[in-house]
């Protein structure tokens, strides 16, 4: 076999398909592969705008269609008020200050529950991930408690905690506990065993091993739990705030439902949705900071 040179004619005969020019090799929609884009500046800026607004296009279209159907009389206002009517209800509630008071009260409850339940869930997740012993003795019990609906628990909760803030805090904390627990457990258990062995071989104390190897390795999964928990936090409140609440978003929603105020119910639904988005944005930012080493968790993913 001899060395040969490729002349111009031969080069031209190369299949165009197989030729890889700048940027050509990158599959545009494959977030799982880390490829550096080789795009120019102007299209990149446009792409940046597109990326930022893309998520809102679908919700916006839905709302527009809904408004159009309402105006056309296809959807009856008694039954499902138009977005504009809901906006009006929102505006009135906002002007009277009720809305913000309700949201502030709920937010305080939600945060307190998140902190308490999240911390406990995190601790149990870590403990049961690291120690087979505690896992063996507590996991069954936790998996059983997880399956009990909050609605069914309310009588018990009232008996234990009364009807004041403790009861609500308990329910939210209980709700938040499980996603954090399960995902922390999963994260810890799937940390690369080779790295843990490395940590041991380098004489890390259990604390160091945990801080340097196990926690960072489990973090992506813990964030999935957090993201879920941020949703559950609000969801549980709607149950918790049926217990002798005078204010709060969940109370507002459930009372409106009792009183058949469909526009307020819809307003609450929209607020829940926006809060969900907000929580998601926050988790994403946090992921961007804490997981900057991980190619798949960059804020501006390609």
């Amino acid at each position: 076999m001899q060395q040969q040179t490729i002349d111009a004619a031969q080069a031209a005969a190369f299949s165009a398909d197989a030729a890889r020019r700048p940027g050509a090799g990158a599959t545009p929609d494959a977030p799982v592969a880390a490829r550096t884009p080789q795009t120019q500046n102007a299209p990149r800026r446009l792409a940046g705008v597109e990326r930022r607004v893309a998520g809102w296009i679908l919700p916006l279209l839905l709302i527009l269609a809904w408004e159009a159907l309402s105006r056309a009389g296809v959807i009856h206002g008694n039954v499902l008020p138009a977005p504009s009517a809901i906006a009006l209800a929102g505006w009135q509630a906002a002007r009277s200050g009720d809305l913000f008071e309700n949201m502030a009260v709920s937010a305080a409850r939600a945060l307190a529950g998140l902190i308490v339940g999240g911390t406990i869930g995190f601790v149990f997740g870590i403990a049961n991930g690291v120690s087979e012993l505690t896992h063996r003795y507590t996991d069954t019990t936790l998996q059983m408690i997880r399956n009990v609906p909050h609605l069914a628990l309310i009588p018990l909760v009232i008996l234990w905690f009364g009807i004041d803030e403790e009861a609500k805090l308990f329910l939210v904390a209980l709700g938040v506990f499980f996603p954090i627990y399960i995902n922390t457990l999963h994260g810890v258990r799937t940390v690369d065993p080779q790295l843990i062995e490395m940590g041991r071989a380098y004489g890390m104390t259990p604390v160091t091993l945990f801080l340097r190897v196990i926690l960072p390795g489990a973090l992506p999964s813990i964030f999935v739990g957090l993201r879920f928990a941020l949703g559950v936090m609000w969801l549980t409140l709607i149950v918790a705030e049926t217990i002798a609440a005078q204010s709060g978003l969940g109370h507002m929603a459930m009372q409106a439902r009792e009183f058949l105020q469909v526009d307020v119910v819809m307003l609450a639904i929209l607020i829940y949705a926006l809060l969900g988005k907000l929580a998601d944005v926050l988790t994403r930012l946090l992921e961007g900071v804490c997981l900057s080493w991980h190619p798949n968790f960059q804020p501006a993913r390609n």
């Binding site: 001899q2 060395q3 197989a18 050509a24 090799g25 080789q38």
Partner: protein, 262 residues
């Protein structure tokens, strides 16, 4: 010492008549035209030109971090140049790459990991047969049913080699395929690679840090330095080659001289 390797090997490619027509099974040419690849500020490949004729066995040597793997990734289409172009001849050329790490699928047993390398059109029974032959050729037929996780470092690398060699590509890229092997196994594997290349006639690009390995296998050796081809040396030795022949020693000496900055 058991010499399992030597007598365990059976005819690795005595399988049914090749499914791909001979014309397609031959190697394809490849060409770098002024390729620059930047990571941040640093240009790892810097206006690099390189023609690889069809069917050539090219060895690429160079210091750690000089850009050998980056060069291979351009050929495999896993990375695109920042400037310039990489072209591969032939319509839809079949390119396969053996990575510097084994990259075995942890959820497939050893044999199934080798089967990953088979062309899509091969039927099941024949594929299994071929994968088993390849495993036998790398001396691991008795580990076919195990999970990759329990293999030793060198065994994983050999499974990855078997996976690359069953694939009948037109362009085969090998990134330090024998780095984790002892002297004896290494020579066995070199012979295996040469034999399959001779049988199938694909274009081969071998990245290695063992200059003796390069001179034992390659038609041509290029040394990459500072993002460019610093030395382009034909090695037109007759095959089968003798290890430690004066000609190959001379080639090795030239490369080492250049490498050591003499």
């Amino acid at each position: 010492m058991s010499l399992a390797l030597a007598h365990q090997r059976r005819s690795f490619d005595a399988a049914p008549p090749p499914l791909a027509p001979p014309a397609e099974a031959r190697g394809v040419p490849a060409r770098f035209i002024g390729v620059t690849r930047r990571f941040g500020q640093t240009a790892v490949l810097n206006d690099l030109d390189l023609d690889i004729p069809a069917g050539q066995f090219l060895a690429v040597v160079g210091k750690s971090g000089c850009g050998k793997s980056t060069l291979l990734r351009q050929l495999a289409g896993l990375d695109a140049p920042s400037e310039g172009a990489v072209s591969i001849g032939g319509a839809e050329p079949v390119t396969r790459m053996m990575f510097q790490e084994p990259r075995l699928l942890p959820w497939r047993r050893v044999l199934a990991n080798v089967e990953v390398g088979l062309p899509a059109k091969v039927n099941k029974a024949e594929g299994r047969e071929r994968a088993l032959s390849a495993l036998e050729a790398v001396g691991l037929a008795d580990r076919a049913g195990e999970w990759p996780a329990v293999l030793s470092g060198g065994q994983k690398q050999r499974v990855a080699l078997a996976r690359a060699l069953v694939s009948r590509p037109q362009l085969l890229l090998l990134d330090e395929p024998l780095g984790a092997l002892d002297a004896l196994t290494r020579i066995d594997m070199q012979r295996l690679i040469e034999r399959i290349w001779l049988e199938q006639g694909f274009t081969a690009v071998l990245v290695t840090h063992d200059v003796a390995e390069a001179s034992a296998l390659a038609d041509r050796i290029v040394l990459v330095d500072a993002g460019k081809v610093a030395l382009d040396l034909p090695a037109p030795l007759p095959r089968p080659r003798r290890r430690g022949s004066p000609e190959s020693a001379a080639i090795e000496a030239r490369i080492l001289d250049q490498l050591f900055g003499a």
